[in-house]
């Protein structure tokens, strides 16, 4: 992807060709439904204004990458989408985050219901200190699925979905902590898939993994895109370029630019975006 972009900048024809592609994609995008429509969203940690007037329209069945330097608020934003950010007691918010048309910041919105629909994969793999099977079955179980046969099916399907079935099928009863970091992260993804969410939030899911595991997770994200909407926070700009359809660039708590990934990485509108992706800061 990066190589392709270098070629594009060197070759006029390519640029013209690809900009027509961009136009086509943008048209497609407007046809898609919004999963998360954020309007004038503000967030404070105590007195620190961490997110300022965020407006973002995230579409379904796409991979949306959120990039930006450390402390820019990208993790805070993604954690606001499933209200995990509320675990920090001093957080205050205003504005709207509409998930499928309903404002999740509404006090009547049940947070457990939201998190059942919006799954999350964390930066550091965090399997439960249980067997692989119990890790995957945990979600379905707390939501009332007790039937052993159905659970078996869910576990297999989720592990296959997370491309780890073949590696663990013979040791489903062993503790998940016996697996490597990359395997643990795919277990966490499988755990998330087990309740068949609508959206998967990924908070720097590969930052603790080696390159090969990273590649596996990235391939997985591409496959999951057909059935899920994925929002991924990443430090790694190449990763954003490789796997995402849309990219949002955050800086100091603001969205500087949000557009098709190809556009952001080839012809960004804002100078700050260009400075960041060309490695001049951050």
């Amino acid at each position: 992807m990066v190589e392709l972009k270098n070629k594009m900048t060197n070759n006029e024809n390519h640029i013209n060709k690809s900009s027509s592609q961009f136009a086509g994609e943008t048209n497609n995008a407007t046809d898609k439904n919004s999963v998360f429509l954020t309007k004038n969203f503000n967030l404070w940690y105590g007195d620190h204004h961490a997110l300022k007037d965020i407006n973002l329209d995230i579409k379904e069945n796409e991979v949306t990458a959120i990039i930006g330097p450390s402390g820019c608020g990208k993790s805070t934003y993604i954690k606001a989408l499933n209200r995990m950010v509320e675990l920090v007691p001093i957080v205050k918010t205003n504005g709207e985050i509409n998930y499928r048309g309903r404002n999740i910041l509404d006090s009547s919105y049940e947070v457990e219901e939201l998190r059942t629909r919006v799954g999350m994969v964390f930066q550091k793999p965090n399997p439960f200190p249980k067997s692989i099977y119990d890790n995957i079955a945990y979600g379905p179980r707390i939501h009332g699925i007790k039937n052993k046969k159905i659970l078996d099916e869910i576990v297999e399907k989720s592990l296959r979905g997370a491309a780890i079935w073949d590696e663990v099928k013979d040791r489903l009863n062993q503790n998940a902590y016996g697996l490597s970091g990359g395997q643990q992260q795919r277990i966490c993804i499988a755990r998330c898939l087990a309740i068949e969410p609508d959206v998967i939030l990924m908070d720097e899911p590969t930052s603790a993994l080696d390159p090969i595991s990273t590649l596996k997770v990235e391939e997985l994200v591409q496959e999951l895109k057909d059935n899920y909407s994925i929002i991924i926070v990443t430090h790694n700009m190449q990763q954003a370029a490789r796997i995402s359809d849309k990219t949002a660039f955050f800086l100091n708590g603001e969205v500087v630019e949000f557009d098709n990934t190809d556009k952001i990485f080839s012809t960004p509108r804002d100078q700050r975006t260009e400075d960041y992706i060309s490695g001049r800061f951050g």
């Binding site: 995990m84 219901e113 945990y138 979600g139 998330c192």
Partner: protein, 315 residues
């Protein structure tokens, strides 16, 4: 080079070299391990000494009373003039009654308190409640004993009219209250050390706080919790003053908890504070009972260690 810019005559390295040359420092360095080993040995040797005395006197006791009569006898009548009976089972049973009642009180309450403190309480609440719990652990047991005898027993007698003034129930409950802070505090430590990332993983799946506490945190901290329970029960077994004051002095071999009992510890108190002459069988019997008690608490402590190692869930 090193002194450059410091504006001093000596470089830091020179100063270090100078102080290193002092003889005293080296001597202290060499002496300290010897001093420390000596101090450590004092406590080890004391323990060995106590154990040795215990074994020696117990051996003497078994010269006079057959070991099978002691271990399997169901009647403990050491003071019955011509033919004293030394069957330890009534004392063991009395001790177990106290331990079981105490555990029934302390385990649910202690774990509930630990869940509240670790999962629900705000920092502020925790900062107030934990010290209060620890004060409870610092109350002298004699005070608990009077509390059992003069407050809990009369209260229970309102509910259970057949309850004797000396009984197993009241001191059992009070021993439970005594070991509760220990279970609560140690279990809270075990639960607090479960990493937050695991809680977040469960919350992100739509789990409620209770589901996270009971199905993720509690199992993850189980080894620590069980170890705390075993340690606390071993304290209940060794508890003396409460049962001496409120439990009575009637070794009985039945499962009744409303009547007077005698525990191993209470028997030792009874004999030690009485006038059993040196060299009598009764005198030696307290060593045998003490040794039995020691075996019990030793097993409990080893069990606690084994459990916390064996069932430690890695995270």
């Amino acid at each position: 080079m090193a002194s450059q810019g410091l504006g001093r005559e000596h470089s830091v390295q020179d100063l270090i070299a100078k102080s290193r040359d002092k003889k005293g420092k080296r001597f202290v360095e060499k002496l300290m391990p010897i001093v420390l080993v000596t101090i450590a040995l004092i406590s080890v040797l004391t323990t060995v000494g106590i154990l040795f005395t215990l074994i020696f006197e117990t051996f003497e006791f078994f010269q006079r009373v057959s070991i099978t009569d002691y271990l399997f006898g169901t009647e403990w009548l050491p003071f019955s003039g011509s033919e004293p009976l030394f069957g330890v089972l009534p004392l063991v049973l009395g001790t177990l009654k106290i331990a079981v009642i105490a555990a029934c009180v302390a385990v649910p309450l202690g774990i509930a308190a630990a869940i509240y403190l670790s999962e629900y309480a705000t920092d502020k609440t925790r900062r107030i409640i934990k010290p209060v719990l620890e004060v409870l652990a610092g109350v002298p047991t004699i005070v608990y004993g009077f509390f059992a005898l003069t407050f809990v027993t009369p209260m229970l007698q309102e509910l259970i009219p057949s309850l004797k003034i000396f009984n197993a129930l009241s001191p059992g409950i009070v021993v439970g209250i005594m070991i509760l802070p220990m279970i609560a505090s140690l279990s809270e430590d075990a639960m607090s050390s479960v990493p937050n990332s695991i809680r977040e993983g469960a919350l992100a799946l739509g789990a409620t706080k209770l589901e996270v506490s009971l199905k993720v945190v509690l199992p993850a901290a189980l080894s620590g919790i069980i170890a705390s329970v075993v340690l606390a029960v071993s304290r209940a077994i060794g508890e003396t003053m409460i049962v001496s004051l409120a439990g009575g002095a009637t070794p009985t071999f039945d499962l009744n908890v409303t009547g007077s009992i005698q525990t191993m510890t209470a028997y030792i108190v009874q004999v030690s504070s009485g006038d059993a002459g040196y060299g009598t069988t009764i005198y030696y019997s307290i060593y045998a009972v003490g040794f039995t008690l020691f075996i019990f608490t030793l097993i409990m402590n080893l069990l606690a260690q084994y459990i916390s190692k064996r069932f430690r869930e890695e995270y």
